[in-house]
């Protein structure tokens, strides 16, 4: 039975599409490429012979693959050069979250943003984030600590 039948496609999209969008936004600082990133991740899942021991295992794979897909997107910037047009209609994109706090978070370095997202939104512990990306726990702790400190300073009146 194909991995990607209608029921499974629906489950994956309902469970993970928004998470992939959020990670893409935190990584790329825009939502424009999120649908592509989502498709890349699900197509990779479709074309590989993956078996997951648990929903947590599956989610972890999706997160790692999303970050890798974002990195690939940055590398292919040759295809994203802007040409000048007389008038370019707006391309419909998912609206980005608008808040003062998000503006400050988006000023942080990428590693801090991703760590903050995974810890404060997805609820992952330092050990889990470190294992997911092959980093040391110390590195992840540093990202979180420095991220918090920078945010505190930026929020000071």
């Amino acid at each position: 039975m194909p991995y990607m039948d209608s029921k499974n496609a629906d489950r994956l999209i309902q469970t993970y599409a928004d998470m992939i969008l959020r990670i893409s936004y935190m990584y790329l600082k825009q939502t424009y490429d999120a649908e592509d990133i989502c498709q890349d991740v699900f197509l990779k899942l479709l074309s590989g012979n993956y078996h997951f021991d648990s929903p947590e295992h599956e989610k972890s794979w999706i997160i790692r693959t999303t970050v890798n897909a974002c990195k690939d997107h940055l590398r292919t910037s040759f295809w994203k050069r802007a040409a000048e047009w007389d008038s370019v209609p707006e391309i419909p994109v998912t609206p980005e979250p608008k808040s003062e706090l998000m503006d400050l978070v988006m000023e942080l370095p990428r590693n801090y943003r991703i760590s903050i997202y995974l810890h404060y939104y997805e609820g992952y512990q330092v050990k889990e984030i470190a294992a997911m990306f092959g980093k040391t726990e110390n590195a992840v702790s540093t990202y979180l600590r420095r991220g918090r400190n920078k945010l505190r300073k930026m929020m000071e009146p």
């Binding site: 939502t31 890349d40 040759f78 209609p89 706090l101």
Partner: protein
């Protein structure tokens, strides 16, 4: 971290989600990919979206036919292609109404492989405003250098930058562009003043991100229009403009 930070952060993230129609579209595309792959026993196609601006300079290829949707204006493109070569010889590609591609050039670059690229132009609402099949062709030499040939009937695009060099060959204007990419590891690193200045003033200089270490990559390319088709030969290898102009001349003749 203060509780209110976490609450506000969660609130902002909760507000970031795909619309249901976008999820429906993704759902249908995934099932279509699965079905097409099973029917043709081919690898899963990678589908990607790129802006019209990027498409104007990206390698899009031969037109086999355009379905006109006159009322809509193309705002962006989607395209899909196989990751491996679909065509193993030039003669396989030269079997339709498309302009022919050479099996080899005089300078030793020979046909390595080609692919169909299925392109759809979409309007602002995401509806199809144009649909065609392009081709992409790679040529390699004995040193394994690669030059890509792409041909497209661009509906309304125009290169507005000043060319690095221009030559007239058999009455056709052929432009050469040498583009420099500074690829940096982290977008959060501040660009130095010189780099910022160059970005402002030099329209052949770009900054991108994603490498392990800072590196510079050059792309050389020649392009010309003939019989309504835009031809574009480009490479990231160390190949001179003379070589590329020579190949353009062979295509023109």
């Amino acid at each position: 971290m203060a509780r209110d930070f976490q609450e506000e952060f969660r609130e902002s993230m909760n507000a970031l989600h795909f619309r249901e129609d976008v999820k429906d579209r993704m759902h249908n595309k995934l099932l279509l990919s699965q079905r097409e792959s099973a029917e043709r026993k081919e690898p899963i196609m990678k589908k990607w979206t790129f802006s019209r601006a990027a498409a104007a300079v990206a390698a899009c290829i031969m037109i086999t036919g355009i379905t006109a949707f006159a009322a809509s204006r193309i705002a962006y493109y989607t395209a899909s292609s196989r990751a491996d070569y679909e065509y193993k010889t030039a003669s396989e590609m030269n079997t339709t109404d498309m302009p022919s591609v050479p099996e080899a050039f005089d300078n030793g670059f020979a046909f390595a492989g080609g692919n169909d690229v299925h392109v759809e132009g979409k309007d602002e609402s995401g509806a199809t405003a144009g649909k065609w099949t392009d081709l992409s062709v790679e040529y390699k030499n004995d040193s394994d250098q690669t030059i890509t040939l792409s041909m497209t009937a661009r509906p309304d695009a125009e290169e507005t930058r000043k060319a690095t060099e221009t030559r007239t060959i058999e009455g056709f204007t052929v432009r050469f562009d040498r583009d420099e990419y500074l690829v940096l590891p982290d977008e959060d690193d501040e660009l130095d003043a010189n780099t910022k200045d160059r970005l402002e003033k030099d329209d052949h200089f770009f900054v991108s991100y994603g490498s392990e270490h800072a590196e510079t990559v050059f792309y050389n390319g020649v392009s010309f229009e003939k019989d309504g088709i835009l031809y574009y030969l480009y490479t990231a290898d160390d190949i001179s403009s003379d070589v590329l102009f020579g190949m353009a001349a062979e295509l023109i003749r």
